[in-house]
């Protein structure tokens, strides 16, 4: 690496993780997040790791930052006073949503309030049609009058979302110009820049979200830059974005909605880097913490990306209960399943787990802080996966009797004792996660049987083995540094920028010259942007077109090679589409025209090179002295598991399941069906043992 001293910082809900890399050496710390001034925790953490490394902050050459602040501002509605300007007749698009109920059987259902109340939404007479032609021209005088009208209202930020602006941005540009002249202190976000995609609700909402958090994020990022400079770290600062790449601080301040979920994106990049180290082309990353689990597919060492996701779900993580954000994101499923997730028995006498969480106060019953309901951690303790005397490095004493009481109460209506109830609870939560992974795989046309799982986050190693059994995944890797995985991921992420265009083209009207020009222009735009972040790195471009049969509403992404993009040919486009469509849905639809709707060029520097991995020369079976009773769900019985500290496993050491590999933050459960081997880099490599 040319930048040999780099700092990765991840601000999470509870902890701010800081990782410093000096050459090959890595120093990390976790400090409590400081909500009032988040930069304080960063400064504190930076000094801690600099001290550990024995360097001054001035020696840091680059800081990469990711944060949940943008997400939290949306969830907690702590954004700026914001107005929306939209097309006359469409004032309520962000309030009317999809006009449907996300939970059909709840007669008292409440829908989430829109980010902006109705009196802060204004309209202008203007209209584009579905081809991007002007139906009603926009009168500049109307815009000026509106600017005068709202000038005294005290808005800090303005979102502009006009119908069909993804096809023609002329009117949005006029509005921005007028406001820049009339109200130069007010920030303006326009939908044709923030999210140029069809479907007005998603596009407007994304633009409003961007405008809503922009003053907050711009001010925070400005302060952060200043504080870091004061503390001696005057190096460039970059931000991790939701799509898994890095952008400049300035563009993050302009499009802060792109920072939403940047922490989990860092986790996916972390897993992708491990995948590269092990030369794995099909990886399922599994990140499980205290309240949620995140699952992501990583193909060819690149996390899957998507174009829309939902933030701030208000109703038991239920799909549709949040707000849609359409930006390039790493495609993840997040479900309410973590160590603190609570269980109950419903009317069908089914055990249900989560998304309600015990949090850290009172915590699971076994924390002995007054929690009476059983959480996933209680089940893990009762099943023997955790050692009550050595949890969190011995800092929290766990109470097995409290877990047993809570689980007995759970099991009572089902005639289950505490152990059976724990088994049931753990199986339900594991099944929930496995189902989420399966659905996610199917949506992407993937079969998990030939995938490798990479697990990180505090609770993941306790559940990953069982998940692999359920999913038919044969190999599981638990890397080191898993506790600060996202922050490490930031340091492995490439600089990248995706340029997109909504241009409709049927293959029957395929125009090779137009296509070549379009893709070349986008390549120039995207590459130029990345060049501003890194003056001399190699930059390469990835070309994607989103295609569907004419008349369908949802596209599938088709990747093109550079040669295919620069010498576009209709037969190639058609055969690429048909092959991918068949892989996803089984058969093509005969006799239908095919169309392209969205074009994307992603320019990126190379991802961090994975460190070469020396092969373990010899594998040696180790004998563990300690044993503990462990319930093995696949066998439905208690087995005698070997217990060994991760630190005591030398390179090449192999231990058959059932086994428990312990460390301060967590325990790795090796099921009876598998065996574990310690790799050169400290990764625990867990494989199915063929019968």
């Amino acid at each position: 690496m040319q930048h040999n001293i780099r700092l990765g910082v991840d601000i999470g809900g509870t902890f701010t993780d800081v990782v410093l890399e000096v050459g090959a050496a890595q120093f990390s710390t976790k400090v409590l997040t400081t909500y009032a001034a988040p930069e304080d925790a960063i400064i504190d953490g930076m000094h801690q790791v600099c001290a550990k490394a024995g360097i001054a902050p001035g020696a840091i050459s680059q800081i990469i930052h990711g944060t949940t602040l943008a997400t939290n501002a949306l969830i907690e509605r702590r954004g700026a006073k914001t107005a929306l300007i939209t097309t006359e007749g469409f004032r309520d698009v962000i309030e009317m949503r999809t006009e449907s109920r996300f939970e059909q059987y709840d007669l008292n259902l409440q829908l989430p309030e829109p980010l902006l109340p109705r009196q802060h939404r204004f309209t202008l007479s203007e209209r584009m049609d579905a081809q991007g032609n002007v139906l009603i021209p926009l009168d500049r005088a109307d815009v000026e009058a509106l600017a005068d009208q709202i000038a005294p209202m005290g808005f800090e930020s303005i979102a502009v979302g006009l119908i069909h602006a993804y096809l023609n941005d002329a009117h949005e540009q006029v509005i921005r110009d007028v406001f820049a002249q009339k109200l130069p202190d007010v920030m303006v976000s326009i939908s044709s820049e923030v999210s140029p995609q069809m479907r007005e609700y998603e596009r407007f909402n994304t633009t409003v979200a961007n405008a809503y958090i922009k003053p907050l994020m711009k001010s925070y990022l400005g302060r952060l830059k200043g504080r870091l400079a004061e503390e001696g770290a005057g190096c460039p600062i970059f931000l991790m974005h939701s799509g898994g790449g890095i952008i400049s601080l300035e563009s993050a301040a302009e499009f802060p909605v792109r920072l939403v979920e940047s922490g989990p994106a860092g986790g996916a990049v972390f897993a992708a880097n491990i995948a590269a180290r092990y030369d794995l082309n099909k990886v399922l990353s599994f990140d499980m913490g205290g309240t949620t689990a995140k699952i992501c597919l990583i193909k060819d060492q690149t996390p899957k990306t998507a174009r829309v996701f939902e933030v701030a779900r208000t109703y038991r993580f239920k799909k549709g209960s949040g707000m849609p954000i359409s930006i390039p994101v790493i495609d993840m499923v997040e479900i309410g399943a973590g160590g603190g997730s609570l269980a109950h028995v419903d009317a069908m006498r089914q055990i249900r787990v989560g998304p309600e969480s015990a949090g850290s106060e009172p915590g699971p019953a076994c924390y002995g802080r007054g929690g009476a309901r059983p959480a996933v951690t209680d089940a893990d303790l009762t099943l023997g996966k955790l050692d009550p005397d050595n949890f969190a490095g011995g800092s929290i004493q766990l109470h097995a009797d409290a877990s047993a009481t809570a689980l007995s109460e759970l099991g009572a209506p089902l005639d289950m004792d505490a152990l059976t109830a724990a088994h049931g609870l753990a199986e339900v939560v594991d099944e929930n996660m496995a189902n989420a992974a399966r659905v996610h795989a199917v949506e992407n046309g993937e079969d998990l049987a030939d995938y490798t799982m990479i697990a990180f986050g505090g609770a993941a190693p306790l559940h990953a083995g069982r998940l692999c059994e359920k999913l038919g995944v044969q190999r599981l890797l638990v890397p080191t540094g898993a506790g600060v995985g996202s922050a490490i991921g930031f340091l492995r992420a490439p600089f990248s920028f995706e340029a997109t265009r909504s241009v409709y083209m049927k293959l029957s009207d395929f125009a090779p010259k137009t296509v070549k020009t379009l893709l070349s222009d986008m390549e120039t735009e995207a590459t130029g942007f990345v060049r501003t972040c890194d003056a001399d790195a190699d930059i390469h471009a990835e070309y994607k077109v989103y295609m569907r049969y004419t008349g369908q509403g949802w596209e599938i992404p088709i990747s093109l090679t550079r040669a295919q993009a620069m010498a576009p040919d209709v037969a190639t486009f058609q055969s690429l589409f048909e092959a991918d469509y068949t892989a996803l849905f089984g058969r093509t639809v005969a006799g239908m025209d095919i169309e392209i709707t969205v074009w994307a060029v992603n320019a990126t520097t190379d991802a961090a090179q994975a460190d070469a991995l020396a092969e373990v020369s010899t594998e040696s079976r180790v004998q563990a002295n300690a044993k503990r009773s462990l319930f093995d769900p696949a066998l439905s019985k208690i087995v005698d598991a070997a217990v060994i500290a991760r630190a005591d496993l030398a390179q090449g050491a192999t231990i058959p399941g059932p086994a428990l590999i312990t460390e301060d933050e967590t325990t790795i459960v090796v099921p009876s069906s598998r065996q574990a081997t310690a790799r050169v880099d400290g990764t625990i490599d867990i494989n199915e043992v063929k019968a």
């Binding site: 005294p152 189902n435 006799g591």
Partner: protein, 561 residues
Amino acid sequence: MSNVANQVMWNRLISIVEEQAQALVRTAFSTSVREAGDLSAGVYNADGLMLAQAVTGTPGHVNAMADAVAHFIRRIGRDNLCEGDVYITNDPWEGTGHLHDITVVTPSFHNGNHVGFFACTAHVVDIGGRGFGADAASVYEEGIYIPIMKFADRGTVDQTLIHMLRGNVREPDQLVGDLYALATCNEIGQRRLAEMLDEFALVDLNGIGAFILENSRRATLEKIAGLPQASADGGMTIDGFDVPIDLRVKLTIEKDRMICDFAGTSGLDKKGINVPLVYTKAYACYALKCAVAPEIPNNAASLAPFEVTAPVNSIVNAVHPAPVALRHIIGHMIPDTVYDALDKILPATVPAEGAGCLCNFQVSLRPAPGQDGARSEVLAFNSGGAGARPTVDGLNATAFPSGVMTMPIEATEHTGPVIIWRKELRPDSGGAGQYRGGLGQFMEVGATKGYEFDFSAMFDRVDHPARGRRGGESGGPTTISRDDGAAMQGKGKQFVPDGARVILGLPGGAGYGDAAARDPDLIKRDLARGYISAQSAMDDYGLSEQTVAAILDAVAKGETA
């Protein structure tokens, strides 16, 4: 199988049918399916009993499709089920109530044994005939009829059927594309089921099926047993096509079942708003489930304790060949009718009346005389306001009881030269009350210059707005007219010339409780947001002129209420 394994498999089946539904959305062509989610997907045991149904979908399909597979087994014959077969129908009485709903059933095989079925339903934009609307005098005019038959025989698609269908509909590519999407989604379900059976080393669904049905039956019966055993009458009068329609129900709660008897309801209508009993059952059952057992998943056993009867050839039990294309209008009014009765037995449980039926229209566009251009069919689903609830306001412009979504207008405008000029909330349309009814919406519909169109209206509550409960006021009625001043009707196909627009005011939900008891902060909020006008704030909620002026002044200054 252990209890734990059964619990896992039940969750898995629900997850499998959800994947099935998502595959349908991703591959469908009609906006009704891909944008609005007017569909349903489910898995059945070998006897045709439904075991699990996708959460994605709408109640009219959900509950109606539960009965459909039994008809397929009877018509195809148990001995004729082959691996690779795909069956199809749009029979209103053996499917989901009108010709526009295509139901596709795929027998599921595992290691050569028949283990069950996957079924799915979707609403297609066009099925030929007179087009989607109320105007037909019999089902024969409403489109092409596909009896229960094989779409694919051991993997080979019936090309004769495809040719026949292509030749009989206005949007052949869309229809054929949707048929493939329906078949595809069942295949996806089947792949997952096979994996589950392998993982748990099962040869069939008998054990897990019995577990699901037994637990669901017991849970539902426990809920019903906890209700008062009583009987009550309910009723509602709505517009109908030419003459008003009386909906009447007698609801009886016994210790192990709930019975809705629609005796006393109006007879058949001459136009296509009649309802096959299967669809009446679907919505009556949905209404009761929401109120008494909302959390129990739909399957054969959880639906069984809800019984629905109606006299033959009443409008809610129309038999062949009655016209039924718009059966949803009255079907969607069934829950409000049932709630009129249920409210007398379980007070403070059910909402006031709402818009009820979806406010749909279909536009058939063609070039005006002397102009060039293509014809096209555009369908739009829209919602009025929902009724206020016993402790919260009604939902603005949100479907109830239907579970479908609206289509983005940007997507709609890509399907033809239609222009939606307006789609936004309609102030003052929510019935006043302690809890206000949900607002309806305004819409304006026109076409690109050079096109004229037929506007097929499917609205009710023009003359019979939603009625309030416990002193709440009625919701705003439906209004419809042309911008050039020409009058229009709430139902039926109506010509709109080049350059003219249809102006719609979709109805609001009714209020709950006396408006005088409304929280003053909510009244002020409603005024600040423009949900209610200054006039309504004073007339309906008793705000003084000064208070109103102060609130409007604060809004103009940008102060947040």
